[in-house]
Amino acid sequence: MTTKNIVRVDIEPERYELAERPTYYFDVDRRDFFKFLGAGALVVCALKSPGLGQESGRAHGRGDALPNDIASWLQVSENGRVTVYTGKVEIGQNIRTSLSQAVSEELHVPIERIDLVMGDTQLTPFDMGTFGSRTTPTMNLQLRKVSGAARDVLIAMAAKQWNTEPAKLVAADGKVADPAGNRSIEYAELVKGKQLTATLPAEDPLIPASDWKVAGTSVPKVNGRDFVTGKHRYPSDQTLPDMLYGKVLRPPSFGATLVSADTQKAEQMGATVVRDGNFVGVAAPTTAQAETAVATIQAKWNEVSQPSNKELFDYLRENTTNGSDPTGDGDRFESGSVDQAFSSSSHTLKATYTVQYIAHTPLETRAALAQWDADHLTVWTGTQRPFGVREQLAEAFHLPEEKIRVLMPDMGSGYGGKHTGETAVEAARLARATRHPVKVVWTREEEFTWAYFRPAGVMDVKSAVNSDGMLTAWEFHNYNSGSAGIRPYYEIPNQRIIFHPVKSPLRQGSYRALAATANHFAREAHMDEIAHSLKMDPLEFRLKNLKNERLRAVFEAAAKKFGWGKAKTGPGQGYGMGGGYEKLGNVATFAEVHVDRKSGEVRVKRVVTAFECGAIVNPDGLKNQVEGSNIQGLGGALFEAIQFKDGKILNAALSEYRVPRFSDVPQMETVLLDRKDLPSAGAGECPLVGLAPAIGNAIFDATGVRLRALPLVPDGLKAT
């Protein structure tokens, strides 16, 4: 094994997120299904929609194999339980509940009888990963279809048994009933002793939301009891008999290479030491022993010089790469005659906005438990991409993917920060050497240092308006942070939008809402600046330049709820707004801040969010996501920033990296616009994007100070 294979784990820069090509296959023999399930089941599979089907399926060549482009499948067993298999994972976005609701609704089965098997690479169909707010628009609809098909098969079975017309029968409460004949039969009874499979094609899966019953209501977290009693085992809680604890020796700085390592003492202490290229790790019966052992290792490293925060933004501008954005999602866009529009305009504005690197800081750090059985590897780990981790393991250990199983127990969240499998690779390497199962749980410091960050970025914006307050030209450059949400939704005839990829000095990747946070911050702050320069009301200016009805609707709804235009009640008070369109959701956020220029304290007092993402599946869950986005967004908006120098993170602890707490939380009001006529979109990300500009604009309103950098007030805002 080479160094490269063990230590370097590819990350997922956010701009690659949607372009990533899956190497998918799901070979399953019909007989394999029943070998695994036992007799007495109905299995219904949904095929992937052709649009998503670039995956290269492989024919199995064994008997009557099921098609290998399955997206999800469901089983009705003779014990009356329904098991649903999906490659999506539960990371706190509550999809275990919302997907169960969808199944319950269509299959007419009480929600308590439904089990979801999620993100187990052996049992669930391939899935690219749980990100990009894609679960609700894709998986939810798919499972509805699968469940509806299963219900129809069950009704047909009952009709056959009773020698009647399916149309005369109804399904309800896990039974098929014949109202005319006054009889009913349990699903369990119908499938008893049978082995039935059905597949259904993926067509346009639109289902009208107007008559949803279970979906569309607020169902509590399905396995909530396991969480309030401490029974649920997260990835970091997994154990196996004879398990050892692993610790990895970390380099003193990023990019350092190992020159020599004296591991004698560690070995004398009884720890197993593995040295493989740049990787040095130990395994011992307790964490304490592993920690002590790794601390005794004397290592020499070759360090390389690298940029720090101080020169970060100059560095980003000066180090663009020639590579383009592979998503093609707005990496370069031009319309009209931009230069001409600028030169003929009498009112132009130019400004630069920046965002710092921030850390996801999921409360559960990365963790993995690995076990080898001959050359078969099983890993339990916290990740948003179990299949991606399987691929990384296959590459690291030169194994075919069939020999690797990755399981993902519902984890302590990710926010886009757990797309990778670092601990999986580390635990597996140590487990192979020790012939014991090995668990690796990162410390908070490791999580802060060796995970990846939300990209920092610089945005240059230039705009032109005519005397009526209509935007005529818009030039927008984003260095490094990404192209998500880079295109304006305002009506502007002349536009030049360029995303400049940069060789990032820090490891960077996806973060909830991706670069949309940075791009919306720059755009919505700039809109505010233009409005003020024109002495126009910021809401009026936005609406004047906005045609998109859905976006207008959220701005208007939030403005009404907020009471936009009301007089201020005291000094230091300020109101501001921001909003936009991202991941099929529309959001407008209005904020009230209070700034004490003496102490420098900036408090966000009240946040009103109007959000619309099509038909609402679970209003309470949705509200939870919106509020959660706002609270998480407070950190990046106000004070979160990674400090780094010479390849070291300087604030790799909660004592030095401030995250939002109870005392930071404003009064929050959420207006949900339910568009039952539109497909449901996810809500895990979009609501985040309006907050930072709303706060920044409110601070300007309160103080006249225009802040153009995120975080806005890491050290407060004292009068100078």
């Binding site: 706190g92 977290k221 909530g224 809680d237 004592s655």
Partner: protein, 160 residues
């Protein structure tokens, strides 16, 4: 050295370094994994347990300092199938997303309500400020604590 520990009403004797954090003892030696590791420096509250009914951060508590004291973890809060009112209130208010913070939140809340059944919002914020939730469930946690407080004072009334 052997350290006597009383956890959830059961007595244990642990052969560990006296400086071992209580959190490690619980998770690694007693397989009580309901208390979570979030920071290891007493700043996130994920590891909160009750020591003699009061919230304590187990990650910065050496086992030797709690020898023989009554320790309650999230696993010991319910009576059989009967959830503690705080546990029930967290469910009723949907006060969790990933729920990794939840056991620590619940233990801190129990400690607060043990002292004060009707805390004001300000008192809740002050008492809970050391508990981090990264998913942003704060407003629901506050609602759950208020609900549980009401529940606890009512059930006490009826008992009397």
């Amino acid at each position: 050295m052997s350290i006597p520990l009383v956890v959830n009403g059961r007595s244990y004797s642990l052969e560990v370094d006296p400086q071992t954090p209580l959190l490690t003892a619980l998770r690694e030696h007693l397989d009580l994994t309901g208390s979570k590791y979030g920071c290891g420096e007493g700043l996130c509250g994920a590891c909160t347990v009750l020591v003699e009914g009061k919230a304590q951060r187990s990650c910065v508590t050496p086992v030797s300092s709690v020898r023989g004291k009554k320790i309650t973890t999230i696993e010991g809060l319910a009576h059989g199938d009967d959830l503690h009112p705080v546990q029930q209130a967290f469910l009723d208010e949907g006060a969790m997303q990933c729920a990794f913070c939840t056991s620590g939140m619940i233990m801190s809340a129990v400690s607060l309500l043990n002292r004060n059944r009707e805390p004001s919002e300000k008192q809740i914020v002050d008492a809970m400020d050391g508990n981090v939730c990264r998913c942003g469930t704060h407003t629901r946690v506050i609602a759950a604590i208020q609900r549980a407080g009401r529940q606890m004072s009512e059930s006490k009334e009826t008992r009397r």
